[in-house]
C-alpha cells in the first residue's frame, strides 16, 4: 500500500469522523482503476465515473462500478462528458443502461474549454457562459437537491 494514498485516505477518514457532513468534499482521482484498490474512495459517499462516448472510456466506467462495489462503495453513477450529438448521447445511454450504471447528468462538448486550457484559466472564469460550465452548474443543483446524498 502506497503511503501517499494511505495519507489521503487517513485524512479524509478523520475529517469525516470529526466534521461529518458539515463540509463538501470533492476528490479528483487519478485516471483508471488502480487507486480504487488502494481505497482512496473509501470515505466518499458516491463515486462519479466520467464517461466519454467511446468504448474504452465506457468500459472503464463499468469497471469503476464493479470494483467500487467490491470495496463497499455502492453508490456509483456515470456522468456523460464531451457529448457532441444524438449518436454520442445514445451510445452512452445504451451502454450505461445495459450495465446498470445510472447517469447523473450530461455535459456537452464545449470548444471554448480549449481556450481556457491555453490561457491556463479555470473554465468557470474563462467560459462561464459556455455549455460545459452551464451543465456542471446544473449538476451542482442536482447534487445539492438530492436527499440522502451527504
Amino acid at each position: 500500500m502506497c503511503s501517499a494514498h494511505a495519507t489521503v485516505r487517513g485524512l479524509l477518514g478523520e475529517i469525516v469522523a470529526r466534521t461529518g457532513n458539515g463540509r463538501d468534499i470533492i476528490v479528483d482521482m487519478e485516471a483508471g482503476l488502480e487507486h480504487l484498490s488502494r481505497g482512496t474512495g473509501k470515505h466518499v459517499s458516491r463515486i462519479i465515473a466520467v464517461v466519454e462516448p467511446y468504448f474504452r472510456s465506457l468500459e472503464t466506467g463499468r469497471r469503476v462500478k464493479e470494483l467500487a462495489q467490491e470495496l463497499g462503495v455502492g453508490n456509483v453513477v456515470g456522468l456523460a462528458n464531451k457529448v457532441r450529438d444524438e449518436d454520442d448521447r445514445r451510445a452512452i445511454q445504451q451502454f450505461c443502461a445495459a450495465h446498470g450504471l445510472p447517469l447523473v447528468g450530461e455535459i456537452p462538448y464545449d470548444s471554448t474549454l480549449a481556450e481556457a486550457e491555453r490561457a491556463g484559466l479555470p473554465p468557470i472564469d474563462s467560459s462561464p457562459a459556455g455549455p460545459a460550465v452551464a451543465a456542471i452548474r446544473d449538476l451542482a443543483d442536482t447534487l445539492v437537491a438530492e436527499k440522502g446524498l451527504h
Binding site: 502506497c2 489521503v8 470529526r18 470533492i26 474512495g41 447534487l143 445539492v144 451527504h150
Partner: protein, 111 residues
C-alpha cells in the same frame, strides 16, 4: 456531500471536479477539494495559480503512525489533527474553496 470523480484518462475528471467545487462554494457551502492525482493539476482548474500554486505542499508522509493493536498486530493510523493539516497544507482559492493535494507517491516506502 462527499464525491470522488473517477474515470479513464482525459475524460474530464479535473475539469468537472474543479468547476463543481467552485459551483458548490458559490452556493454558500464549505468545500474541500482534494487532488488525489500523483500528477496534480486541479489547482489551475480551481483558479489557484501563479506563485500561490507553487506554495502548495503535498501532504507529508509523517501524518500516519504505526500502532500496535491489543492483539499484537500493527496498524497504520492517521494521528495528526485534520483541521491543522488543512490549515498547514491547504490553500484557499477563488470562492473560498480549500485545496489539498496528495502529491507525489513516495518511493519504496511501505504503509
Amino acid at each position: 456531500m462527499r464525491i470522488a470523480i473517477a474515470g479513464k484518462g482525459g475524460t474530464g475528471k479535473t475539469t468537472i471536479a474543479g468547476t463543481l467545487s467552485r459551483e458548490l462554494a458559490r452556493r454558500g457551502r464549505q468545500v474541500l477539494a482534494v487532488d488525489a492525482d500523483t500528477n496534480p493539476n486541479l489547482a489551475v482548474t480551481l483558479g489557484v495559480s501563479g506563485p500561490r500554486a507553487q506554495d502548495i505542499l503535498g501532504l507529508p508522509r509523517n501524518l500516519m503512525t504505526r500502532q500496535t493493536q491489543s492483539d499484537g498486530s500493527t496498524k497504520v493510523v492517521f494521528t495528526a489533527d485534520p483541521e491543522e493539516v488543512l490549515r498547514e497544507y491547504g490553500v484557499t482559492g477563488p470562492d473560498g474553496v480549500r485545496l489539498v493535494i496528495m502529491g507525489k507517491v513516495g518511493h519504496g516506502g511501505a504503509g
